[in-house]
Symmetry: C3
Subunit: 392 residues, 3 copies
Amino acid sequence: MIREIIPIAIREVASGTRVLDWTVPNEWNLREAWIKDLRGKTIIDFRQSNLHVVSYSAPVSGRIGIDELRSHLFTLPEHPDWIPYRTSYYRETWGFCLSHNQLREMTNPEYEVRIDSTLEPGHLVYGELLVPGASSQELLISAHICHPSLCNDNLSGIGIAAHLARHLLSVQHRRYSYRFLFIPGTIGAITWLAQNRNNLSRIRGGLTLVCLGDSSPLSYKRTLAGNTEVDHAVSHAFQHMEEKTETIDYVPYGYDERQFNSPGFRLPIGSLMRGRHGQFPEYHTSADNLAFVHREQLASSYEALRKIIEVLEANRTFLNLFPYGEPQLGRRGVYREMSSANHDHQLALLWILSLSDGSHSLLDIAERSGFAMETLRDVAEILLQCGVIEEK
Amino acid sequence: MIREIIPIAIREVASGTRVLDWTVPNEWNLREAWIKDLRGKTIIDFRQSNLHVVSYSAPVSGRIGIDELRSHLFTLPEHPDWIPYRTSYYRETWGFCLSHNQLREMTNPEYEVRIDSTLEPGHLVYGELLVPGASSQELLISAHICHPSLCNDNLSGIGIAAHLARHLLSVQHRRYSYRFLFIPGTIGAITWLAQNRNNLSRIRGGLTLVCLGDSSPLSYKRTLAGNTEVDHAVSHAFQHMEEKTETIDYVPYGYDERQFNSPGFRLPIGSLMRGRHGQFPEYHTSADNLAFVHREQLASSYEALRKIIEVLEANRTFLNLFPYGEPQLGRRGVYREMSSANHDHQLALLWILSLSDGSHSLLDIAERSGFAMETLRDVAEILLQCGVIEEK
Amino acid sequence: MIREIIPIAIREVASGTRVLDWTVPNEWNLREAWIKDLRGKTIIDFRQSNLHVVSYSAPVSGRIGIDELRSHLFTLPEHPDWIPYRTSYYRETWGFCLSHNQLREMTNPEYEVRIDSTLEPGHLVYGELLVPGASSQELLISAHICHPSLCNDNLSGIGIAAHLARHLLSVQHRRYSYRFLFIPGTIGAITWLAQNRNNLSRIRGGLTLVCLGDSSPLSYKRTLAGNTEVDHAVSHAFQHMEEKTETIDYVPYGYDERQFNSPGFRLPIGSLMRGRHGQFPEYHTSADNLAFVHREQLASSYEALRKIIEVLEANRTFLNLFPYGEPQLGRRGVYREMSSANHDHQLALLWILSLSDGSHSLLDIAERSGFAMETLRDVAEILLQCGVIEEK
């Protein structure tokens, strides 16, 4: 479905492949999964909701007494209408997830149970798209795709990533290349890192996109280093937004930023989100559905991401070519180009001339001067055209 | 007139001389400038106030209709008694500045107008004085001299600079050499920098002196680097003054600190002021006159500057010659010399011994210990005389 | 008496020995010291309190008129029941200290006075104990022993040091070696430093213990550098205590931390205390007695010190051996070992893996993550046993 929006490559990595400290696991496929009463009436059917089966459940078939069956049934008593999401990657077991109301109606002594699944050598599958830019330096945007039927966590991230990619493909000039990953959480990031280990130096920074459609404030989780270009770019974008935003320090828990920031890689990847990992009641339940995410929040998350990308694209470092005193700008046509400029723009110009000594990027200048990157970018463009500065 | 106070050298740099990215402009001279009514009654005469003519006005002579004339007349409607100060360096034009009340009385259809000026090769003229000290390292004090008949901006700075120079000439021992500049703003600083380009490494720091006579609080604008010795010295002096003071970060706008701090030079020159550039109503008007500056404010600005200079002169770095444990001070006569010292002075002494490891100057010690430089200087002098420390 | 608790070595250094900038002084011994009225009634006797004689008093014997005698008598009028503590190291004199009430009763015109003392070549005496550990790196614990009959300042420090040493001797594994010093203030520290000058590189850090039994809040005075391992360890221990604590910056005044932190040595030695040097009324008086110190405060000071030592012992630096992405912990038995662990412990584990890149110690990880060192130490132990990390 992502391919209806952008032309991702679909990569397959065979089960058994060594990836860093891990091995790509067998592939789990599920054909049927239901519980029926003995009269053949379907009580639970995975075709109604793919949350109904514990992910990676082993096959099972036959009549099972309610007492034994109960130990394979998972509910949320505090939210009796919701179905939990459960997975059991590394312990062979089986189980069903259902609403607590459904469980209360299961009063018979026995039920017919069937899970027709296989866990066999196959492939780990992920999507990847490189949107090339003027530079081979890459910004990495990653979304996880492993949560069945959950909308905020993870469909919102997938959607926003795909639409950002579509936008970037439509833009004539991109300074950076952009790499988009649509990967299963943890093992997908580990697999991608293992397969691309020798090309990681091209990653200049990036973001994982998670839980971006709910009504919590837009939040940024810093990279482990905490003061990288991405951190400054998000900080600047947030300051110049009307929306209330929050920024939190790195914690080695959450989504795939954990893998990217691990000690062997230390890729400066932060995370953009609204509701935080594990901290909203709908998290990992059937209530994380289309009703839980809002068009306005998705749009605003997308706009914030665009803004961050714009800041990164604009964050060039220049050299004042006339660094001794103030250059005579009139003679070089700068004032003519800035004819529509007001006093503020002139001060922005003086800041750029003053700090463009090779050790301050436009973002540094923005932080020190208080000007928006947009203003600095436009003024720098004039100075560049008039031959007063050059890119370092 | 400055020469009535101190023996400055007067330097002349010929029009057409290349100075950094600029060229010394032609010299503007004005012999006559007036507006008369057709009966010969003088309405405006530059001999009444040299603000009446837009600086650098081209010559004009003849009868001019009021409508055309109006486009050459500049007033301040919100302050109908004040004459604005206007200049037109790089665009050939002419004009008169007058009070709005004067303009209102100009009801005739025509006037006789005359500006007898020349704009021809000549010289840029500035004043310079070096007060030599024990070290060839220099502190630079600069005042601009280009504003006609304005008292706070710039006569107050000129006066205080001249009196500081006179004081320093009268002092027997000066650690640093002091260079005083009386220069036209911008082009003067650029010209001086161009002519002294190869000797700038001797500049250890300095101040531009501007707007020091009005009733605003004494203010310091930091150097671009923001943490240089001058910045620390002013910070210390301000902390140990009773007067309310303010400190603001560097902005690449204001007076000649802009040129000195430019990327190619990065001279650590801050700025001492009261009213700030462009932020008081009298700025660049005839109301910036003798009534606007106050004897007490000028005196207090001067005293603050003296205090800053004292801090810089006292800021030496010493080595404790007995750094292993505490030296036996009694045996070396230190307590005898400090006989009048109270407990506080003894603690000052311990701080000097404790931090004089070559990487802390007295100002560093003052900042860490809270002692006044004056106390530390006096105690260090005793330790020096008793052979316990030596200058690094 | 310390030897009843721990097996200290008693070191003697002969009078006249050069120690750094000092010389070990003559030894002062006192056999008798009293004031009697002419009827032979004892008014003051040093056998009642050894504070009664000014330390280092020269011998005196005979009848002395009350006026002359008064100039040799020291009292505290504002605390008429207390006897002051006085010493006169480097000026030959004699004197008695007594309560102001005692002085008021001395109404006779003459008294019989006797001080039978000697000030002759002898030895400076101090106690030392090395409790060896796995590493030859040492933590230094120092208490001063020069204050006669004062309980908070200095018996509390001596007692706590001795009991810590006894505890450490009873512990099977000690990572560091511990050196305990029981030394006269200033000259003792200088003597020890002089005698051990070539072995100081083994001192990793330490504490002087002073005034630890009164009811002031537990306080830590930082090392001169202020950010050493000891400073961080105390900060961490204080944060994880229920007791209210205070931390103050280094001042080159107080106890022997002055000598240890002097520029030639810069040993990172902080100071643990309650009441501060010179800042409680009982300081250097007979009121600094057994009633002034409290069992609970001594116990709590001791526990705090134990906690600080535990933090230092636990502060190892590890290397994550599987730094690329997250290691597969299940396969390595980590989860089995952590079976009793709750979510918090798992987050502690992720922090250790995330920051164990060789440049972060466990204390760095504790500061960044907010986890207690105890938790991190226990989790690191599991990771170490499972071969996931190794000590750097």
